[in-house]
Symmetry: C2
């Protein structure tokens, strides 16, 4: 009896706590946002009360309040550092496929020639310290033999890198593959995938990302960087109990980490925050906005301190244009938008079809082989074309660039008018030279190659982002259109459309701007980003001037792509993988009431419920065994069925197990009580009752059966519920 | 009987519509967001169904889908145009206080001297066409007499402008006074204030804003521009039934309009969108984000096309700095942040105390006199000091500016080293000349003057924004600190703190940057903006470089100000005026359950409810007369009190009134039925029953009595409910 009273006393204590601390959710389950929030408020209240007791507690409460900022600082610093390291390593390893630096093997081509002191600007790419493999091994740098040898070694290195990448992923961290953004969206919406953001994933993803990008496959580092940043966020969450013990708070940190990831990926802190807000996050309170901004900035400045590109910019493809654009140019810009939308549709359909095939056929059984084959094809086809041989970001950078007077690339091989002086920034339109025409052919081939190979690459079992390949496709198309318009304007000054804005000898068309607009359009078509896309591009060009072309292309591309299918690539992959994700943007268009979707239907067995004072332990156990619901409503009695509360399956299981082990007299025939009053034990021979009110949620969320379904969906979305009970007259 | 059946048939039709179209809310009431959303979904569904019927309907549905963009375009264009017109008019009228242009009276000082062809750069301010009043009237431009005459006319013009402004506001549109942002926040949160955003308010606010700013009072046009933009938004809403008939959709448009307003006020489209998101809006779906961005951009480009400042910039105080900042400078920046926080606290406390006094004492009875007196004091004190005589935006512009080689202002009167060549942008630190020292004294006086007068100015019965005065206070303080640091660094190169970053002959300190940081800090202290503040300032400087100083100051200022009181100036004014605003950011810290706050309490009379089939018309009418609740729950019967639904007071009144007029046999003793089945009319002599199921909301929002209050508050916030019923076991 003593024991019983003691236990009872304990129970009474528990009653003061509306939500007992049975916190952990099971893997692949969804969290209850309202409950997490409620728990955090409780915790906060406790700390505030305690802080008035002593100075030590006050300091502890201040530390607690500051921990959010500390976490952001740490995330920003680690993300920035990792991004810098990845950039440097990719740079080095990409060049390693072609040759090696004699003065120090760990220098990339550019760094190698930097340190060379005899280099003038024109010879920058041809310094003696940098030797191609053939030159190093045979001493000949020219000729068919050297070319074949270089070709062979290029392919070999690519195969080696990709093999290493896919093996590491398979052996150590299967979650490290793909871009990670679909999964992060799902996690942020409240789903639990254990280990997806773990330390191991972080390490392996960083290493394999470098390998995968260096192997020359048609993939980018931008998407995976978001995953890496989120892993950092999760890592630092575990340092503070405020975040590690509350799944809701943890997701706030992860949203901010995603912003930091995009910030370093594109060198666009504001764009990163908006990306996190628009594309990735589910629950984004204002406090998080401010902290995300902080994390994004810290990351950007850390990366700049590392200065991986040697230009004190955050990205390789930062540009500044000097010529304004003209109204008539909106026509090609909008055409580029249409192209972007079509590319988006083609890519999503093709990629999803291929991924489905991979899931269902034998193909999925040999991921390593698949990666090797695709790498082989990519490398073999990429080497002969100078525009696909180099890394994709360098390609984009060259395509974005305006042809200055000092530019020596093939794309800038215009016929110069010898009479003119050559100011640096204001070069009039000129006729294209032979270099430009051959570059156009190579670009067209590169475009087809990129379009096809990217569809097969994204989704393989290695880290792979699609921002960069998409942008490359758009940039190539844009540059081709840009040069076409430029030449048309040069040769046909007298056409009506050109007459007004393009006098002879003026600099009217900037092909680099077309490349940028095309890149934005293609990226928009694939991801369906809008505001964040334009802001990221705005941060790359740094001028309000070019926002209108970018917006026109982004809007057109979104509309065209939406006409063929509402979902972006990430939503499609979420659907393909069957994650439970409730999209905020989906409109619920059916006109049904809650009563139409509620279970059980008339023909099915009755609702699985518990009664407040007449179910026995055995009944409960049978119920748990027979059904797989996550929880059960508790009603007054079978007859009246008035709702009292809701009890979680997990907590019920734990409570009964504990009671059977620790509490005397609880046997299968014990009655389970959910009432507030102490049950009357009628006769001595009756088994001890089991009081479980402490695990009963007395404020379950209810709607009436006449509530329209769209309201119910809205409630689920906005409050982040796990379940909602449908009642009629209570 | 026929009549009855017909009526009944009608009723059955109504049953299909879950929400009948009794839409209008009463003035000063709150809207029901969930219901508005539900109505919009219904409307959308109807259009989609119809669009399949004929081509005409399809076109109509497309037009409907496009109307959102059209509204945004129109808002952007009108807002941009109005902002441009206001800028031009203010410019002209501010100069009118000092003199007039002889070549054309409608030219401002600057425009007047532009058209003068003999002007060199140095004489820009002294062209012969521009004559001060004294010169024009007496022919003497120098001497004490001329000074006194100019002084007198300056004050006279100021009094005239402000008298006109306050009279127009009082006579035509009382809602046009103040900054409008507190009211717009309240309206966006779902409150209804009829006429606040009307055409009349738009017109009068635009005119009086020009007058008020020109009168030289310590107020700005930025806040009221947001109000003007929202009026434009409301105006264009009425063109489309989609927006005019749905209060929820209307608020989406208004949020976007607010973004457009800030966009033209500061020339910062992205900052405007974030301002709308962070500070003003309540319900901000992602679709609105994209449209706001569009509206903000259109507004910015319209304003730029008008080019009111002649510098193809959107604002007067756009700057570009050329010198980086150093780590050690963070100390003065943070000190400026502290100053900003203190100023925010002082201003909010002082202003609220003064406004309360105005409300409660005789002062409030004579608003015209108050405005005249304050204008008089301002003008008399402002004229002698050159820094307060000019318009505040010009002052800020000068304070922000870096001293280039060609700068001729007093603030740039440094002692030049004659040995040095003078490149335009890279001037080393120099000792301050006598001009700088006298400027410092004048600035210090201006600072004190601005601090005091702004507290009394904000809240008078004329349009008045506080962005510009706050920024001016911060900019003055910042510039003073900046010059002090600069001179210290120049004279004490050998101090440890300066040794590392400031060699002699280097340009280490930019006093203009200090002014900008100070402005951001003060603005942050008053409004408690964070992200949007930093982004707006970022768009003004156009470089990531200076974000860190701005962030440091903004964060410090917010923390310091928060330590003295959680509320920004807008929230304080909302509280002062007693608007029902549920702040998203307030944490609900009490630990109460719904049962603790629900009415009636035990000692009070029982809950006012209707029963589903036993209340008579007379009972209902008594209930409506005796209580002032907005609605009544409907229960099964007095005894069982199980909830059936909820009925709105307004709809109940209308329904009973209509029934009494139109339906035969409905008398005071008729029974009101809320049930689904047809009531059995027992005897022929019984009065006809009144069926009101169609106005019964069958899905009222309920929570159980054990729900924690913070959850209830959360539900109200996130779902925008109007009411929520508390039940126990149904």
């Amino acid at each position: 009896i003593d024991d019983y009273i003691e236990m009872n006393g304990n129970l009474m204590d528990f009653l003061d706590e509306p939500f007992p601390d049975v916190s952990t959710y099971e893997d692949f389950h969804t969290i209850d946002w309202l409950r997490e929030k409620s728990r955090d408020t409780d915790r906060h209240r406790k700390i505030t009360t305690k802080s008035k007791e002593s100075y030590w507690e006050l300091i502890k409460s201040l530390l607690d309040a500051w921990s959010g900022w500390v976490v952001m600082l740490l995330i920003g610093m680690l993300t920035g550092t990792l991004a810098g390291v990845i950039d440097l390593a990719v740079d080095w390893m990409t060049d390693l496929k072609e040759g090696v630096c004699l003065s120090a093997f760990y220098y990339s081509h550019e760094q190698c020639c930097w340190t060379s002191n005899e280099t003038t600007f024109d010879d920058r790419d041809k310094c003696p310290q940098w030797q191609k493999w053939a030159e190093l091994m045979t001493g000949h740098s020219e000729g068919a033999g050297a070319y074949v040898l270089n070709y062979f070694l290029y392919v070999l290195w690519a195969l080696l890198f990709s093999f290493l990448a896919v093996s590491l992923v398979r052996v150590f961290a299967p979650y490290a593959c793909g871009s990670g953004i679909p999964e992060i969206k799902t996690i942020l919406s409240g789903f639990i995938i254990r280990g997806y953001l773990g330390k191991w994933t972080l390490l392996i993803k960083t290493v394999t990302l470098v390998l995968a990008v260096s192997s020359g496959l048609s993939l980018g580092k931008e998407g995976p960087l978001v995953h890496v940043a989120c892993c950092c966020g999760n890592l630092f969450c575990s340092l503070f109990s405020k975040y590690s013990k509350n799944e809701g708070k943890r997701r706030e940190v992860l949203s901010a980490a995603a912003a930091a990831g995009v910030s370093v990926a594109f060198g666009a802190p504001i764009g990163g925050v908006l990306f996190s807000l628009e594309e990735v996050s589910y629950y984004f309170p204002l406090k998080t906005l401010w902290r995300s901004f902080f994390a994004a900035l810290v990351a950007a400045f850390t990366l700049r301190a590392i200065n991986p590109f040697g230009n004190s910019r955050l990205v390789l493809f930062y540009v500044e244009y000097h010529t304004p654009w003209y109204m008539a140019e909106l026509v090609p810009f909008i055409l580029l938008g249409v192209f972007g939308g079509l590319w988006g549709t083609l890519f999503i359909r093709g990629n999803i079809a291929w991924c489905r095939r991979r899931k269902t056929t034998l193909l999925g059984k040999y991921p390593v082989l698949e990666v090797i084959v695709i790498t082989g094809i990519t490398a073999v086809l990429a080497f002969p074309n100078p525009y696909t041989r180099r890394s994709t970001s360098e390609l984009i950078s060259e395509l974005f660039n305006d042809c200055g007077a000092l530019e020596s690339s093939q794309l800038c091989d215009y016929v110069n008018n010898p009479n003119m002086s050559r100011p640096v920034d204001d070069i009039p339109d000129r006729p294209a030279g032979p270099g430009v025409y051959s570059a156009l052919w190579q670009l067209a081939l590169a475009l087809i190659f990129k379009i096809v190979i990217t569809i097969f690459t994204f989704g393989m079992k290695i880290p792979s982002g699609l921002f960069i390949p998409s942008m490359a496709v758009g940039a190539i198309a844009g540059r081709i259109v840009g040069i076409a318009v430029e030449q048309m304007a040069y040769h046909h000054h007298d056409w009506i459309i050109f007459k007004n804005w393009c006098r002879p000898g003026a600099d009217c068309v900037t092909p680099g701007l077309y490349a940028m607009v095309g890149a934005a359009a293609c990226l928009g078509g694939v991801t369906r980003m809008t505001v964040s896309l334009v802001v990221i591009m705005f941060e790359l060009t740094g001028g309000l001037e070019y926002i209108v072309p970018l917006m026109a292309a982004a809007v057109t591309s979104k509309w065209v792509a939406d006409a063929f299918g509402k979902e972006g690539i990430y939503e499609s992959h979420i659907q393909l993988n069957g994650y439970p994700y409730l999209d905020v943007r989906d409109e619920f268009t059916h006109r049904t009431l809650a009563t139409d979707v509620m279970r059980p239907r008339r023909s099915e067995p009755p609702l699985a419920v518990l009664t407040q004072d007449s179910t026995t332990v055995e009944d409960v156990e049978t119920l748990i065994k027979d059904t797989d619901y996550n929880g059960f409503p508790v009603v007054v009695s079978r007859e009246s069925e008035r709702l009292i509360g809701f009890v979680q399956r997990r907590e019920l299981t734990v409570a009964i197990k504990t009671a059977r082990q620790k509490q005397d007299g609880v046997v299968s025939s014990s009655v389970v009580y959910f009432t507030e009053d102490n049950p009357q034990v009628a006769e001595a021979c009756d088994p001890q009752p089991l009081k479980l009110r402490r695990i009963l949620n007395l404020s379950p969320f209810t709607v009436t059966d006449h509530t329209p379904m769209e309201t119910v969906v809205d409630i689920f979305r906005k409050l982040g519920l796990r379940q909602c009970l449908v009642t009629r007259s209570g």
